[in-house]
């Protein structure tokens, strides 16, 4: 069983879904509460990475982040090594690819918060930031959980983008989904199956815990 690959995948998925949560809080709150009327266009753009085949998206990212791109060159100057074929590169590519899964549920959840409660918080002197963290985010909790779960699971299973941008380097960019794919491609079904089982088992456990807690933690409603 390929433990390194599994750990790499978990690290990648955890990191990506956490960063995505951090990104989608401000982005989602702007999309839900912002003043600009053209916000829906940005909302549409956020979902676009989804409609491209992952390998093709990966190819574009490879070029956009590659050694000939401005981004790639800047990165190289800053960190002394390229961005593609590294773990950092994987993280960035996965962020982009899983963005819609994080942002969409968060926006929907934010829109579901009763505006009267937001007003009540402001009237009590709370800054927009305090209102956000004490009122909006807790009330949108199930949406945040959905966002986290979807982006975590999606990053775990993703392999098209990861393969393209990561280059399948053992221990660095070979995630467990690539490893499973490799085994299946070499008709080594026994090892593909066993890795898939471990991955599924682990994911099942993690998701069950998240959902069970979600139920517990979350009871609020507008009072009867």
């Amino acid at each position: 069983m390929n433990l390194t690959a599994l750990l790499l995948s978990l690290r990648l998925a955890a990191l990506v879904s956490l960063i995505l949560l951090l990104i989608s809080l401000p982005l989602g709150s702007w999309l839900a509460f912002g003043k600009w009327r053209g916000r829906f266009l940005i909302e549409a753009v956020v979902s676009l990475p989804l409609v491209l085949p992952p390998t093709v998206l990966g190819f574009y990212l490879l070029i956009a982040m590659g050694s000939r791109s401005p981004l790639g060159r800047l990165w190289e100057r800053l960190f002394g090594h390229g961005l593609v074929f590294t773990f950092e590169g994987l993280v960035i590519a996965s962020l982009l690819y899983s963005l819609p899964f994080a942002v969409q549920p968060v926006v929907a959840a934010f829109r579901g918060v009763d505006p009267k409660l937001i007003q009540a918080s402001a009237v009590l002197g709370a800054s927009p930031l305090r209102t956000f963290f004490r009122i909006i985010a807790p009330l949108a909790f199930p949406g945040l959980v959905t966002a986290f779960v979807l982006s975590f699971a999606h990053t775990l299973g993703e392999f098209g983008v990861v393969l393209m941008v990561g280059g399948n380097l053992p221990g660095i960019t070979r995630t467990v989904s690539i490893a499973i794919y490799d085994s299946a491609q070499s008709l080594d079904y026994a090892s593909a199956n066993s890795m898939a089982m471990v991955l599924l088992g682990f994911a099942f456990l993690a998701l069950s815990i998240v959902y069970a807690m979600n139920r517990r933690v979350w009871t609020p409603w507008t009072p009867r």
Binding site: K116, A122, V123, S127, I135, L139, T219, W221
Partner: protein, 368 residues
């Protein structure tokens, strides 16, 4: 130490579809102390408070608390709610459903230390008799408990303006009385401008220093409670203030010297002497008369200062707990309130002929 007067001059329209459905257009001063905002349902009271708190943006106008300008459409000033220092108890309460009663109350005390915050919170919850529910979420509180928590949440902060939208409507007389006492104490200690919306005569009596009466989005009267509520000049205000008898009449004759005029009721042919008003003979007017201001007699009274004595017949007698409502027909039907004792003493019965006695100044003019 008192806080400066709140001055608001506001215009705000709502439209449904393309039609303007409601327009608020008011100019009010709220000096320190309790000002009752009174008016029928839909008059625009909550809308006015929303504008002052910064939750609804007026179409035009100016709101200032002393030198501090909260809103000025011409100067382009519009302070956000959190910078207006206005505490507001919403009609719909808007308690935070995910926070316990205690956390709801301490929410506005972010600037205090944890210990102080807790002390303040416990103290006010205790004085509002909901301390035992401190750990309950709003969903686990009764309607009245929720209202008290919402009131506590607003009062515990140190606002410059206090806006209360029917804050005691869900409370029984006992608790209400205690909280009214608390509110009076709070007001005496701080002397802030307080705008207090209520429909309850009881609360007006207990608290009101001044009343602003609103109708159809406009201020229709301002002054001391008695002046505004007992001599209402608007039909809807009269209804809102609970005048039981609202009668249409035609002006017959003006007696400028006596300061009275004679009118004839539109149904029946009873005539009344009423206070002089801006009207000409032949005008249609409306009178509001409280059922409690009418006396009944079984014999025609004589040598009485009251000038209006109308013969009539008792249609019905309905005992209510503290009084009896008699319906008396004298062409028009009047409601008259009697004490049960008086009712027994006069041995009143349905179908009996009686005289109704009305003082001139019990008849109030109302405009539609």
């Amino acid at each position: 130490m008192t806080t400066p007067t709140l001055v608001a001059q506001i215009r705000k329209g709502f439209r449904s579809g393309t039609l303007a459905s409601f327009a608020l257009d008011v100019e009010i001063d709220v000096p320190p102390g309790i000002t009752i905002l009174f008016g029928p349902s839909g008059a625009g009271k909550s809308t006015l408070l929303d504008c002052i708190a910064g939750l609804t943006r007026p179409d035009a106008g100016r709101i200032a608390s002393g030198d501090a300008v909260l809103f000025d459409s011409e100067a382009g000033i519009n302070l956000p709610p959190q910078r207006r220092s206005a505490a507001y108890v919403f009609q719909s309460l808007a308690l935070f459903p995910h926070l316990s009663a205690e956390d709801n109350v301490s929410y506005g005390l972010a600037q205090l230390s944890a210990a102080e915050r807790r002390a303040c919170t416990v103290e006010i919850l205790e004085s509002f008799r909901v301390a035992s529910h401190g750990r309950h979420k709003p969903g686990e509180l009764s309607g009245g408990e929720r209202q008290r928590v919402a009131l506590a949440r607003a009062l515990v902060t140190s606002p410059r303006v206090l806006l209360l939208d029917e804050p005691l409507s869900a409370l029984d007389a006992g608790v209400k009385f205690e909280i009214l006492e608390d509110l009076r104490g709070w007001n005496a200690a701080r002397r802030l401008p307080i705008l207090y919306v209520t429909h309850s005569r009881e609360e007006v009596d207990a608290l009101g220093e001044r009343v602003i009466a609103l109708d159809h989005g406009r201020v229709v009267a301002t002054g001391a409670p008695r002046e505004v509520l007992d001599a209402p000049r608007r039909l809807r205000l009269a209804q809102a203030a609970g005048f039981e008898n609202l009668l249409a009449a035609t002006v017959l004759e003006l007696r400028q010297a006596d300061g009275v005029m004679r009118v004839r009721l539109e149904t029946g042919d009873a005539e009344l002497e009423v206070p002089l008003a801006h009207a000409a003979p032949g005008d249609s007017v409306r009178l509001a008369i409280r059922a409690g201001d009418i006396l009944l007699a079984t014999e025609r009274p004589s040598g009485l200062s009251a000038r209006n004595i109308l013969p009539g017949k008792i249609l019905s007698l309905e005992p209510r707990s503290t009084f009896v409502t008699a319906r008396v027909d004298c062409g028009a039907t009047f409601a008259v309130h009697l004490t049960p004792g008086a009712c027994r003493g006069l041995e009143l019965a349905e179908g009996q002929n009686v005289w109704m006695i009305l003082k001139t100044h019990s008849c109030h003019f109302v405009q539609e």
